[in-house]
Amino acid sequence: MATLIGHSSILIIAIPLLIAFLTPLIGMANKKARNVVVIGSLVFVAFLVFALAKDVILNGIHTYTLGATSSNLTIPEGTMMPVRIILEVDGVSVFMGIIVTIVSLVAVIYSLSAMKGETGQNRFYTLLLLLIAGTFGMVFTGDLFNLFVFLEIASISGAALIAFRTRFADSQEGGFKYIVVSAIASLMVLFAIGLLYAQYNLLNIGALAAAIQYTMLDRIALVILISAFVMKLGGVPMHMWLSDTYSVAPVSITVLLIAASQASMYALMRICFTLYGITLDLAVVGWIIIAIGILSMFIGVTMAVRQTDITRLIAYNCVCEAGFMLVGLGVGLAVLDDRTALRTYGTTAISGAIFHVINHALFEGLLFLVAGAIFYRIGTRDINRMGGLGHTMKFTAAFFLLGALASSGLPPFNGFASKILIYESVYQFNPILTIIGILVSIITLAVFVKAFFSAFTGALLPKYEDIKEVPKAMIAAMTIFAVIIIIFGLFPGLIVDWIVRPATDALVGQTSYINAIVGIVP
């Protein structure tokens, strides 16, 4: 067991990668066996993630050096710097790992019935597992170049999956947009990595953080990295790709794309808090991130108001929720060097933002699955052409309401738990930000109430009279999200203590991340 946990960080990435290329072979022989293998491997990965999470939270940072004689030998004999690829897993990484594992399990279960009629399913599962492996890799790696490679793996497989249903013209355009945006973002990331390597001859995040001076070139690299990752997570000046791709992908893929965007959010946190840390002009960078966040909230919600396509509506809501996280992070970053402010409200703001990351993945995932279920049954995404669906699709209607209430931050659900942390801490930093946040939440509620009433209530339209509830696998996938949302909403304190607090401490405590790499120098 101890050996398994010792090697778990690489196994979590390697198992989906290996199974990805096995699925076409197994699928040619037997389709049932392929589904069993895909689900079985993901369940095993989920077990490893939770075991690793427990180990990291109890015993501290876990490092794994690839290709070394011993897996915790971060710096080889005879050199003074880490030359091998190192996986470094701390509180934030396992937190993101938990999100990815939950979301990927749900996405695969949902795909089992949603993709049943499609051709080329063997390749679909190959790409799906590659996307999962890429996302896990992004959150577990401790090496900047490795981050770029996993970013590209996730982008390429993600774009191929968005365009998977080749009979729809708009999916092809969505895939094209996604790959163009991802290619530009990741090439800019590579350019910034080159700028950093030029000065310090290092690629490891921990070792770079120990050496970084915040010179002019570092500032340029920071600007490029922040803009590239904000582009990948759909922050406002670069948000237009998000609604076009999320609305046309198969919904199980959209759910995974949300997790991939959250991995970009993780990369942004890593860059700001761990790599640059207190060398930054904290107030300036913090306020820039807050400004991006406020713009994302406001433009996201106002664009959501005028949408009639249900998936585009939810996609714009994603932009809006990403804004909340950015505001929380920005406030935390702005007071990072001020000890009293950090203790009174800074850490709470960061906790709120981190907690909102998982809540966002859960409730937006649920909403997208509901939208996919509606599309699966009636073949349209236009809200104006729906009506009275609640009479026959009772579970779907209930899940939509649950997701909508959680997303607007109403009390018994998880969205409230994280938004209240952000509101109360940001209020002490600057009250206006909280007022904007509450206003945006209210408009979000209005948007969803409108969508709910026109889609699910009212008289049942005659053409939808023989519409049935969706298949059991889809209901099961939605139930998993719904149950987790309710548990998180009822016991937020436990969740914060178990996984959010260690993640916050890991972000704020830059030195422990550095010491895990360079602290072993004799």
Binding site: V83, E152, Q172, G174, L190, F191, G194, A198, N201
Partner: protein, 118 residues
């Protein structure tokens, strides 16, 4: 002065290429030209990385019949190789998507095919 200028010439070239690529990506509407823009962007980044790896007086890290002297740690060259492979995969995928879009819309003009505005 001219010495440093010639020494820095590859960096200047990389930045100029990057500027051309970004211009194409922002202002051109033909989908094939956007693909070309991305390829030029990746070439400019690769050129930048390879230029970083040049060390005056260093020798290539090939141990067979190596002359005396400090060897270069070939990290950047390895990065460039990986990046080239990824760029090939990206352009293959992106071109296949362009073909698909052309089959659906009969046009390569992004303004005509863009039906998902707002």
């Amino acid at each position: 002065m001219t010495g440093t200028l010639i020494g820095n010439f590859p960096f200047v070239a990389a930045v100029v290429l990057m500027g051309i690529a970004l211009y194409i990506l922002i202002f051109r509407r033909n989908l094939i030209k956007i693909v070309m823009g991305i390829t030029i962007l990746s070439s400019s980044v690769n050129l930048f990385l390879v230029t970083l790896g040049y060390r005056t007086g260093g020798i290539a890290p090939i141990y067979t019949d190596a002359p005396e002297g400090p060897m270069v740690l070939p990290v950047v060259q390895a990065l460039t190789l990986t990046s080239i492979v990824i760029a090939v995969a990206t352009s293959a995928l992106i071109l296949s998507l362009v073909i698909r879009i052309y089959r659906h819309t009969g046009s390569l003009d992004s303004k005509k095919s863009r039906r998902m505005k707002g």
